[in-house]
Symmetry: C2
Subunit: 210 residues, 2 copies
DNA sequence: TAGATTGTTAATCGATTAACAATC
DNA sequence: TAGATTGTTAATCGATTAACAATC
């Protein structure tokens, strides 16, 4: 997993998509597939698929193609889905609830171990068997349970303070749903900014001339 | 808006981010900014900012920089935020609720005019003053109200059928939250696939070696 | 063996960065 | 006018596509 140095993010961002298509093929009992067939299903070139996969080693067989199940497993391993990362959700409002309920699953490499909010009316409720706790108790919780990932589902004005606290507590990765842009200025901290608004504005642009 | 031909998606996807940073600057009463200052705040090069903006015309002034408010307005116009698009939300489950409640706002160019679900227990409820209607009545509703955008918040197995129906009813743009990849095989149909799972898997990869 | 399809190198294309003349 | 910063062209860099030899 760590022997593959300098893979570009363009390649990495296609891996989950490969993983998804391969999972569909498994559901449909497809055993093997060629880069050409897959390229037609996915709407990209066969060349790109082979190029991408060969960043990580030869998963295919000349004259035959790729074994779907093996390839899916291999990509899952590259993505680290089998390595469960302890995750806390910060913010139990609407978006926090969706994230806690629908997004963080163990088959994707994340195990939710805590949910936090500063709103007293939410503290004590449970989502998927996990009690919503007071944000003030984050220090105690992290020191005891050592989560490494946080999903931020809080208003932008609360983000800068909570990031500093969480980094001090050993959080290494942020899944950021707030409207605040986390710039990766800390070494060894990973960030995924989601920004659904940006996606919607992009759709607005695309639909301008239709 | 339509005189700018052939702008690459790389540029377009940066526009909402410019818009967001400029909006922050307005909130902070900053009147003017140079590409250099903005580049430092955003973590990109000044050259790229100037290159991007000049796809659409000269918004700046040599020796002075850009007037924040004017530039923000101009980008909003390029994105089409001032042109309200009638939007329906398909699916009123957890994700549909978040989209209906928090995502579709008029200051972003979209006006929600309908919410639909096939689950009888949800029909009749209201979200932001709009009644959840039976998906079966989509034909009647669209023929009367002519929405042009749909946000798809339904399970993947329901997507192919609903897309065909909605395209037949004149929907031109899809904001797709389902785990189904809408490939743009129809001309004059715009699609934004969101795929939060892909984002999470990318975070998984990034956090592998920390 | 012949046919198919990969792995991989080379060619092309596009996006980003650098440089500088234009100009406020 | 002098200083600053844009608009824009040229150079660089990276990503995608094409081609083909290797090989199952």
């Amino acid at each position: 997993m760590s022997k593959h140095e300098h893979i570009s993010m363009s390649v990495i961002r296609r891996l989950p998509r490969y993983y998804r298509f391969l999972s569909f093929l498994i559901e449909s009992d497809v055993m093997r597939i060629s880069s050409k067939e897959l390229s037609e299903k996915m709407g990209i070139t066969a060349s790109q698929i082979r190029q991408d996969l060969n960043c990580f080693g030869g998963f295919g067989q000349q004259g035959y193609g790729y074994i779907v199940e093996d390839l899916q497993k291999a990509i899952g391993e590259i993505l680290g889905l089998n390595n469960l990362k302890k995750t806390v959700v910060i913010g139990a409002g609407n978006i926090g609830r969706v994230v806690a309920t629908h997004m963080i699953f163990e088959n994707q490499g994340f195990k939710m171990i805590g949910i936090f909010d500063k709103n007293e009316r939410l503290i004590g409720e449970s989502i998927r068997g996990i009690r919503i706790d007071d944000s003030a108790s984050l220090e105690k919780f992290c020191n005891e349970n050592h989560p490494s990932v946080a999903a931020l589902c809080i208003p932008k004005e609360d983000v800068p303070e909570i990031i500093d606290r969480l980094i001090a507590l050993g959080i290494k990765a942020f899944w950021n749903f707030s409207h605040y842009d986390i710039l990766v200025k800390y070494p060894d901290v990973a960030v995924e900014n989601v920004h659904l608004n940006d996606s919607l504005m992009t759709l607005s642009y695309k639909s301008n001339d239709l």
